[in-house]
Amino acid sequence: MQLPDKYRIAILSAYALALHGFEAMLPSPIPWLRLGLANIITLTALILFGFRAAMMITLIRVILGSLFIGTFLGPSFILSLGGGICGTCAMGAMLSLSRKIFGPVGLSLVGALFHNAAQLFLAYWLFIQRVEAVVFIAPVVMLLGTLTGFVNGIIADILIKNLLKKEPDSLHNVAQA
């Protein structure tokens, strides 16, 4: 990993953390509904700087974010970590499998879907252990995740386009995007 990469990861992690903390403060009509704003940064990093950077940023964001909010090693931390890792892996796999087919919006949708799937699985496995509750809640979570994932994907798309317009030379991993 080169030195400029480290700076980028640090800056993007800071953005992701800020969004994560901002989101935690937002009042939400449903307690477990999250907007997943930090996923915008993960997606941007994935497309511009590759999978390793995106995974780094996700891990830094989840661990530091839970330390700041005060949920470190609690149940919501485990769910957040599992969902973050699974979602990032799914987006990375999707990007390398089909670089041309899916744009940022599609990747965001895939990421949101796998994030929610991992969280539901972990919640069932570790905490709830009532299959009918998970089955009942799964489609609702899926619908909300699809809607927020769609919006996040559009925001990430705009962000990536603007970053590319501003400094096309310094972004190396982007010829295909």
Binding site: I101, V105, I128, A138, T146
Partner: protein, 125 residues
Amino acid sequence: MKKALRNTTIADRILFLFLVIASIAGMFYTREALSQGAEVVIEVSGKPVFTASLYTDREVPVEGLHGHAVVEIKDGKVRMKEARCNNHICMKQGWITRGTIVCLPNSIVVIAGSGMKKDLDAITG
């Protein structure tokens, strides 16, 4: 916003539509599937004395405070068939598929469709 929408690929849009339709269909499907597993619980003086599926037809004799009562379960519905009380409000309520039948003088409560509890189990962050 329109410009951003134009930037999505066809696969993006198909995926989005597929996920939305699948999740809405899933909502209806799970609602249907879970109501199949609905249960009948009969409580006397607040203590559950009988639990069974709503889909096995049977008549259940219950001993209330004022004596004998009969709850009938048939075709996914439940009713109070007989009860020894003054006004028979419970019997007049007829067949129900979900909700409760209360016979206050006998202190009998029949709860249908209680297979699901929508408690909050965890909050993710």
